[in-house]
Symmetry: C2
Subunit: 354 residues, 2 copies
């Protein structure tokens, strides 16, 4: 199957600015679930995996969710399609590279995705723009209820939800927020945030989650363990405690930069804008770095005429698989850098043509 | 005295594009002359120097040249005025820093300058835009004749004109051409030109002549010795031999760059343009480097809407003393970098307001 034309744009939640959109790109809740009576994915045979896959897929498509769903069989998908799903944060790296029968159910508006046969049988993931974890959790909980009425979960009265990895046992929830923290990065205070997060037993990761670097000064903050605390407690910590605190730190850092070294900062931001609108070759690393400065400049009101959401979308679309999809061509590295530079220039010089 | 308001612009010959203006910024002829009956400047007492100064000044201002001349007494001039004359290539570094009675006579259109009490009693210098050495020499020769009819030159029938340094003995002529050679610099072939020049006994120097670095890929090529050859021979070598050859090398280098690595080159040129039109802080070194790329881009037709002469003028006006004169303020280093960036941005975004 081919992913629809919609992949020439970023996901809808990237193209809107949610609450605290200057700092918070997105809120995400992921629930890990397994189906009773089937071995965990990594201990199952391919026959068992296929059976589980069929059962889950049928249950989901028989549920009231079915109306606006897309099914993607990842074993049959092209490498480019899998890469695109990964670049859109709809599947994990592991799920894009796997060799076993597996798939993903997507909402047509990409507001949620259900991976089947990832580390757990089911990974329900809901994403929204900005800081709105309560809404995100409510949606995930609703999907979970709909599935549980059709698929009996692996559940222990003592431990809660059983999962392939012990760190997920209990609620099976992972709450994560994608933050844009260029101010803290420039002032060096990001290290303080890292230390504080470690003490609170939170993980700080890069743009693509586990094991990835911070691309474009984006940092994903998420809970590490789920045992012994309720979903509501974990959510409240994030929504009312940790995340507002980091947003305040980031705002303070931006203010301090603007006051102490305003010209130096404006120089950096404007140079980034100048390079993005003039370069003829752009690597993805340089583009992400420059876009981060541009996003900071727009967030601080220094660069008029550019929307935050345009920049958010560029972060997604400048990635290799997306660029090839947009160009409908196979690229060499140089061609890709050239196309990326042209694409960024055109997007920043006006509204998208489609 | 204060240098006139005209110093808020570059010299007229900088603001016009002469023959081969894409490569040749200017042609210059300098004649070294001494007045019979006075010791050389470096061997004279200050009383003798003042006498020589008065005699020369009077003779010049009694000549038909007088109508459009400015007299600048450098011992009484402000440091900023002296620096401005140096930045405009109207006096040498030595002459701007000297401690002895000395001065310079300037044509109001800055097409020539006569330094008094530099290394020699008189240094007659004529400059024009582009490659037009014959015209430049004709003018220098005319001035020389006018002065010789009033001041007897130190001259030996055997050696020719006598000068303080033996390298100038004979014709006392130095012919020099300021070339913009970014193509040869990028391809590395500038080293070949350096070697060839050494073999031809020519000097390659930087933007400010003797002992200076190549700023903005400008190279000044001049003859080294004057003994045993006539002025006409030296001129013909330059006008018909050496310089056209280097211009051809530079054109070939630009063609090769455009053909072999067109996107890479365009990327560099456009990035320079983007930075010049967006940076909020610019050091003189970075500005010169970026302006050199911009000049190359304009010369190659890649960057429309910018005139070569605008860039030529910027090379002069972004220098420290000129910037202070334009701003009418004393700057710290940071303020100067900020003012320089704003000035460059404004000049490149439209015609000068004055």
């Amino acid at each position: 199957m081919n992913l629809p034309e919609v992949t020439r744009q970023a996901s809808p939640w990237v193209r809107e600015s949610g609450p605290h959109g200057d700092v918070v790109l997105s809120s995400r809740v992921r629930l890990a679930r397994n189906v009773a009576g089937f071995p965990f994915t990594n201990r199952a045979s391919d026959v068992q995996r296929q059976e589980l896959l069929n059962a889950c897929r049928e249950s989901i498509f028989q549920s009231p969710l079915a109306e606006r769903l897309i099914w993607v069989d990842l074993l049959e998908s092209s490498k480019q399609d899998r890469q695109i799903l990964y670049e859109r944060h709809l599947i994990s790296r592991q799920h894009s590279h796997g060799q076993v029968p597996r798939g993903v159910v997507l909402a047509t508006d990409e507001s949620f995705a259900i991976m089947i046969n990832e580390e757990d049988h089911l990974r329900i993931q809901v994403i929204k723009a900005g800081l709105q974890l309560d809404d995100v959790y409510a949606k995930a909980d609703q999907i979970d209820d709909l599935l549980e009425s059709r698929l009996e979960p692996a559940y222990s009265a003592k431990l809660g939800y059983l999962t392939a990895c012990p760190t997920n046992v209990g609620t099976g929830i992972r709450v994560s927020v994608m933050l844009h923290l260029p101010g803290l990065k420039i002032t060096g205070e990001i290290e303080k945030v890292r230390r504080a997060a470690r003490e609170l037993n939170l993980a700080i990761r890069g743009f693509y989650g586990e094991g990835t670097e911070a691309v474009g000064d984006f940092f994903q903050i998420s809970n590490q363990t789920t045992l012994g605390r309720t979903e509501r407690e974990i959510l409240r910590d994030f929504q009312e405690g940790v995340i507002p605190q980091i947003i305040e730190y980031e705002h303070n850092a931006r203010h301090a930069l603007a006051e102490r070294r305003s010209t130096l900062l404006e120089d950096r931001l404007q140079r980034a804008y100048g390079l993005l609108t003039h370069a003829r070759l752009l690597s993805s690393e340089e583009a992400a770095c420059l876009l981060s400065y541009l996003r900071l400049g727009v967030g601080m009101g220094c660069i008029p005429g550019v929307e935050l959401t345009t920049i958010n979308e560029l972060f997604v679309l400048i990635q290799p698989a997306h660029l090839q999809r947009i160009a409908r061509e196979k690229f060499t590295g140089d061609e890709r850098r050239e196309f990326r530079a042209r694409f960024v220039r055109e997007r920043l010089s006006g509204p998208p043509s489609n």
